[in-house]
Amino acid sequence: MSTREFASWADPSATPRARSARLSNPLAGFLRDVRQVATGWRWGRRPAVPLSLPASARGRAVERRTPRRALAAVAGRFRVTGLESGGSDSRVVLAHVESPADLAVLMDALPAAWRIVTARVPRALASGRSVLFVTDIATPDSAEVAAEAATLAARFQRELLPVVVRRLRPAPADDAPGPTARGPRPRLVDDVHVRFADPIRDGHAAGAARTARTAISRLLAEDDATWWDVLRGQAASPLAEPMAPWRRVWNRTAPSMAGGRQRKPIWR
């Protein structure tokens, strides 16, 4: 029982709620809106500027583009971690990728401002562009690629930036239905991560190459442990050790059940 005295036209115990806007005609106010915009902005004539506008507020606003990285991450196709600078400084990127699909993801994740090239590398670095070296850390020639990248970074005094692309076990899509007794199976999508290490600034090429390979192995170790465990040196990736490509695929596709047999579901 209310103790306050309400206006008769707004008494909560006697007045119906305001009618929902959904019931109104959506086109009813359209012409009025168009007319208001047309007169307000003087269509057909030069738009007017208020006379009291201070000088500091004149001139056009500088349009700032949203970083491409953020858009990519929002799109949900892959997750980017560790990328801190979208600036246009020239740099040498040393990437660990395992497939053409991973390389496509990487190219999408690299900021456009870096102006990445993969050919005519010295000239590109000299002209302020960034260069990309791609390798598979588990192959025998990866040390050579890392050394070449580090040498160029030292020669042109650019930072060396290790990065890995990881395609982990398929995960249910965000919009996929959960498992039900008779319902559709959840739609699975690859869980793709692009992980950047801290940039390396080392004038000695051999040391920079070693540091870059260590950084890549630490990024790979995040697959099986966590970033925090890797930071504390409590996890190392077996993938960083040299092994034949088939063994890596074999390891990653091993069934989770001991004995290699899938457990049958209790429903059909």
């Binding site: 305001a18 902005w41 925090w228 930071l231």
Partner: protein, 506 residues
């Protein structure tokens, strides 16, 4: 270089100005001479990692963070929750700050690390919130074994007493009190962010938070108790103006600079909201994020960091208006910081105008004593059953009985605060604490006391009446209502600012 904020005086050449009413937008002709407050443009993005590294290496006083870390210590990293900033940041700088702190901890060999969200009486963080704030790396590292938590202001076992104020025990998160070092990571985008107040209202017990945000307003005394009880290093990023993108870019653009794109976007949003208000609102604002530039990062003692952040913020945001107005006019954005949906609860929009906007000018309000406030909001009652159950009952049961804050605090607050269902929703269902609507109501009281006429344009009449306000169909009607007391030529100030602004009354 970005353009500073300013106060415009409406003249014959001023086009109709944009007004936001929750998710809805409208154009309104303001009378000649109306002062309109515009926020500064968005600044260039700062290099957050470099700023963070610099701040941690060179705090405002005391040794660098790295020198305070040692193996075997208990380190707790606390961070402000998702209500700051609003709308959410697209790439939250707190992720960078927390990662830098953890890197320093790992380098020093610190194993015992726990992260706690300082959510206080606001809703506890979901996994999605944590991911948005801290990023995948930190969440995957810490969420698995309960080392990434939200503070629970009702968990007696997780709270410990550190003193008392006016006979009320001041309690803080036990892990925070028992840690060798606490690093509080926060962002500052408004004058009242940061400091011991943020730590008290984020990590205190419900009683402690009530001392600060309730009717007693004993924030200063609580801060003194906390400063003597815990060793806290504050790491704070000062945020600049957000930059909108996509269809809603016209919200931040100044009207006389609207091109055909902004005009078409405005008309499109108007029509879409008229045709399908709920669906369009959800599509436009449901997962809206904005990009915030980082103006500075500072670290060190809590008080010094807060003072430095405030100075930086004031330099970037302050706009001077000429004298106090008779009528203060403000729209309401969506979302507002106290609710993810400004159309859903009448308390959040009312709080936005009567506490947030009213307080933008500090100790000298933009509107004179005895003036009026006109707000634009539906004051809708589509409460989220998940987030705002207590607020729904506050509006339905408490306000029809009385709007007097003293009576509300004495009669109704104890019952709500002890209600097991509300507490269950807060502790386990990510709802706001039952004291939260009470604190919003108390925060509006200075404006309500100072301004006898508070009119809401487009509001539900019943809800406005229940809250002790008045409703008007149009802005002209609202002025008509105010004219009986304030005359036919009142001095009006309209806060148009999209983004954050501080107002200085000359």
């Amino acid at each position: 270089m970005s353009r500073p904020g300013f106060a415009l005086e409406v003249d014959e050449r001023t086009p109709p100005l944009l007004v936001r009413s929750g998710s809805a937008v409208r154009l309104e002709r303001f009378s000649l001479g109306t002062q309109v407050v515009y926020a500064p443009d968005s600044e260039a993005w700062g290099d957050a990692p470099a700023l963070a590294a610099g701040a941690l290496a060179a705090p405002l006083s005391g040794p660098p963070l790295a020198d305070r870390l040692r193996p075997g210590m208990r380190l707790t990293v606390t961070f402000s929750d998702v209500t700051v900033p609003t709308p959410w940041a697209r790439d939250d700088v707190r992720r960078v700050l927390v990662e830098r702190v953890l890197q320093a901890a790992a380098t020093a060999g610190v194993d015992d690390v726990v992260l706690i969200a300082a959510n206080g009486l606001r809703r506890r963080l979901t996994a999605r919130d944590q991911q948005a704030l801290l990023g995948e790396r930190v969440c995957r590292s810490f969420a698995g074994d309960d080392r990434l938590q939200s503070h629970d202001a009702e968990d007696a076992a997780a709270l410990t007493a550190v003193g008392d104020v006016d006979g009320v025990t001041v309690s803080l998160n036990r892990r925070v009190v028992e840690s060798d070092l606490v690093v509080h990571v926060g962002v500052v985008s408004e004058r009242d962010h940061g400091g011991w107040g943020e730590i008290a209202t984020g990590l205190g017990s419900a009683d402690t938070i009530d001392l600060v945000a309730g009717l007693r307003q004993r924030g200063g005394a609580v801060a003194e108790v906390l400063a003597g009880a815990v060793d806290v290093v504050a790491v704070t990023a000062v945020l600049g103006q957000p930059s909108s993108s996509g269809a809603l870019r016209f919200l931040a653009a100044r009207e006389w600079e609207w091109g055909i794109k902004e005009q078409v976007a405005y008309l499109g949003v108007r029509r879409a909201l008229a045709a399908a208000p709920v669906e369009t609102s959800r599509a436009l604002y449901g997962s809206r994020t904005e990009t915030y530039p980082v103006l500075a990062v500072v670290s060190g003692p809590v008080d010094k960091v807060q003072a430095a952040a405030r100075r930086t913020l004031a330099d970037a945001q302050t706009v001077t208006v000429k004298g106090q107005a008779d009528i203060l006019v403000s729209g309401v954005p969506n979302p507002v910081s106290q609710a993810p949906d400004a159309d859903g609860t009448p308390l959040a929009p009312a709080w936005h105008v009567l506490s947030h906007v009213y307080g933008m000018s500090g100790s000298t309000p933009m509107v004179r004593e005895g003036g009026a406030v006109i707000g634009f909001s539906k004051l809708g009652e589509r409460f989220s059953s998940r987030h705002h159950s207590a607020a729904a009952d506050f509006v339905a049961e408490v306000l029809p009985q009385t709007t007097d804050p003293a009576q509300i605090a004495e009669v109704y607050q104890p019952r709500f605060a002890a209600d097991p269902w509300y507490l269950e929703l807060y502790r386990h269902r990510n709802a706001f604490h039952p004291l939260h609507p009470f604190h919003l109501w108390y925060a509006m009281q200075p404006a309500i006391r100072a301004c006898p006429d508070i009119v809401w344009v487009g509001a539900d009449r019943r809800t406005a009446e229940v809250m002790g306000f008045r409703a008007a169909t149009t802005y002209a009607d609202a002025l008509e209502i105010c004219s009986t007391r304030l005359g036919r030529r009142p001095k009006v100030t309209y806060v148009r600012a999209a983004g954050q602004v501080q107002v200085q009354v000359s």
